[in-house]
Subunit: 132 residues, 2 copies
DNA sequence: CGGCATCCGCCCAGATACTG
DNA sequence: CAGTATCTGGGCGGATGCCG
């Protein structure tokens, strides 16, 4: 039983992320994807083509990029536009809904940039304590 | 080459999450963990014991909970306090650093609770379009 | 250029059993 | 109560090859 928020996911009450059957868990799992955050925030500045994304998001494979993009498109967070040139050009753009999410997760990357030093120091201290 | 932010991770310039070698990626990967967000936000309201967390965070296994807690402790985001009772009691509490992160990711769960309906509708529309 | 299909290794997560 | 230890399989993600 969930104490913190007694509301059940199935129906009339408020959704509860701590309930495994709550649909908000799906969203959380999506955000918990390794690449979703990076791809979505990258598209904030304007439409980008597939290979441009591939090059600029360092470390992503074409398979994972394609997978992530398809998922984001399915969620209505980005759009996919194929332009019939030779060779074909495909542009990905963020949707208004996607932008609300991007705005929400942006502070996250800022937190990472601001505090990663503190975290690293904590880790080193922890590791020393374990070793000693 | 990264265009969006020319700064390299190694040294004098600003960190760049789009660079695979950037230490902020480590933070992002941590946040991208399935359970980190839930555990950390849950501890915002005060210290909680192991089995209490296990019961209240629906769907988590004891293995994953232990793993997540150890990781969070190592990152300096939570503390672990063992009280020598019989049987032993262990309380986990959020640190000031952890609280800054919890405050940062909280809007995320709120986004999920607010917009999951829009996402579900988008998914259904997408799936219909694929089927038809 | 922008993918998809296939194969495959490896790690992650669940289940189970045991301990202080 | 609060974990650790071990085994196991399913899936994730990388590499490669092919196509419109």
């Amino acid at each position: 039983m969930v104490i913190k928020n007694a509301a059940k996911a199935d129906g009339q009450n408020r959704p509860n992320v701590y309930d495994a059957n709550c649909p908000t868990r799906v969203i959380l799992d999506r955000i918990a994807d390794k690449w979703t955050v990076l791809v979505l925030t990258f598209l904030e500045d304007g439409p980008v083509r597939f290979n441009a994304l591939r090059r600029q998001i360092d470390g992503i494979s074409q398979k994972m990029l394609a997978q992530t993009l398809r998922q984001l498109e399915r969620d209505g967070l980005i759009t996919r536009t194929a332009i019939a040139t030779v060779p074909v050009t495909v542009e990905y753009a963020i949707t208004p809904l996607g932008r609300t999410l991007a705005d929400t997760i942006k502070p996250l990357t800022e937190w990472a940039e601001h505090y990663f030093g503190d975290v690293q120091r904590a880790q080193q201290q922890y590791d020393r304590a374990q070793a000693g």
